[in-house]
Structure formats: C-alpha cells, structure tokens
Symmetry: C2
Subunit: 164 residues, 2 copies
Amino acid sequence: MVRENEIRAGELAVDAPAPTDAGLIFIGRICTPWTSRLGAPRQGRLDGPVCRIEVFAPWEPALRGLEAYARVEVLYWLHLSRRDLVLQSPADNGLARGTFSLRSPARPNPIGTSIAALVGVEGRTVLVRGLDCLDGTPLLDLKPDRALFTPIAPPQEGDFHVGS
Amino acid sequence: MVRENEIRAGELAVDAPAPTDAGLIFIGRICTPWTSRLGAPRQGRLDGPVCRIEVFAPWEPALRGLEAYARVEVLYWLHLSRRDLVLQSPADNGLARGTFSLRSPARPNPIGTSIAALVGVEGRTVLVRGLDCLDGTPLLDLKPDRALFTPIAPPQEGDFHVGS
C-alpha cells in the first residue's frame, strides 16, 4: 500500500542533514489524473492516460527538437515525500528493505524518473503517456531516452575506455 | 566536443531563476578515472571501467537489498555545469538544439542519470560499470533499474488506468 507519511513496523528513519548542498529550480508542472497517493499507479504504463507537462518560461526554447524522440526521460520532484527513511516496508508487513533497493518516492532526494512515450509537443506543453506521479508535481528536467539518443559532439578519449 | 563553460555560436542563455525551489543532500561521492570533461566519455558503457560509489553515513542501511539487482539507476549532481543554456551546439558548428532534446550536462537542473551494471556492494561502497561522470561527482540517489523492479506494495487503482 502506498503510504501517506506514517512510519511502519520495521522501518528506520535517520536524522537527515539539512538539504542545502545544491538547489533546484522547478521548470514546470505536471498535470495527471491522480490526486491522491492512495490511488495513483505504483508504476506508469506506456498505454496509460495522456498527461500534460507544462514548461514554464524562460525554458520554452529548450524544447526545440524534443519532438524527434519517441520516448523521453522525465525527472520530477516528489514534493510530498519523507526524506529520512533508510529502511522501508512497502507491503507494511514488518519486512523492511533498504531505500536504495526500492523505487519508493520516500528517499533522501525525492527525485522521480520515468521513461514516457511522447505524444506531442504543443507550444510549451509536452503530452506523454507513462507517468505515475500526482497532479501538480513539479518538473525538474526532460531528456531524450538514453536508448534513443546518440551524442552529437564528436567522440572523446573516454568513449573508448573499457576494462577493469 | 565537450565544453568547459564557454557559450558558443548559436547558443542561447537565459536569466535563470534562483535555484531555491527545493534543496538537495549529497549522499555520497563517485570515484571514476576521469578528471577532465575534455576526456570523459560522452556516454558510459557497460563494459567500461569499474567505478566506486561511496555512500555517506547515515545512509548505509539504505543499501540493504540493492545487491539483488544486476543494474542500478544512478543519479548524481553535475556540479560543474552551466544552468542557463536553453539552446546548445554540441558540435560547436553553429547548429543549435534545445537543451531538453539533448543529454548534455548543461541544463537548468544538472542531474545526471545512468543505468549502471552492478559489480558488488562492500560495506558502504557500491561498485558499478557504465558511468561517464567526473571523479568526485556528488551522488544524489541509487535505485534498481526500473526494468528489473517489481513493486512490492499491493496493486492500486491507478495501476489499471489505461486510455486516452
């Protein structure tokens, strides 16, 4: 069961440092059909409903060329999540696992990442399928799916670096 | 050619808002063979060199269970990057594309994401192949590769939500 903000049997919270190592800019807002964590998908599906990503000024020019990619990586800020849990019990059954072995939204830096199917770009609105976040989630970034992207810059020495 | 911090012909920088919408915690440090952006890989490769991810206290317990996954998603902070470019010319040839159509490190929120092959977990050190970031890059998060992860929480209404 997806949590609101309670701590469950077997879970461990720690004193997290103040989140002051770097700062984020919300570059847009994501509109989805889900208004409660208790009814949202646990994971998005590429045949799910179309969701709207509204990109704020001054970032609109940064969308140029995105329409060439069938899938985009979406990064967003899970703004309602606890950040202090190191052990979590997703099934609320007393069995706990480490936060980094889960894709739970509760994590020290609650950044969600999804690969979404691109439906279209209209002005500064990006339409996609495959998200699972709540309506109103702040947008952090958009990039082409790594599997579809070929670097445009010429190769560098590190590109040929294999080995032990 | 990978940039240091210059602005090139055809590129566009904007007045970015102050990065104060949310704050990040650096949860570890990534050790790689690359000390200059001019020699680092443009994209990591799964047969690349083993890199060490050192997770800071108090997050060590959060690693429990990660070793079960063959691939992990690594999020890190591209601490040397410009954040104000909306159009970029990766080949420095006068042709510019939108930042969100590129996987360049220069972006409003310079968060790198990689899928890395997990080599092992030793205490609070995670060994992986497939990174392309510089030595000393701050770590933001680790999660199982989405393609390998099955949610542990029971299904919710949104999981069955398909459609237009």
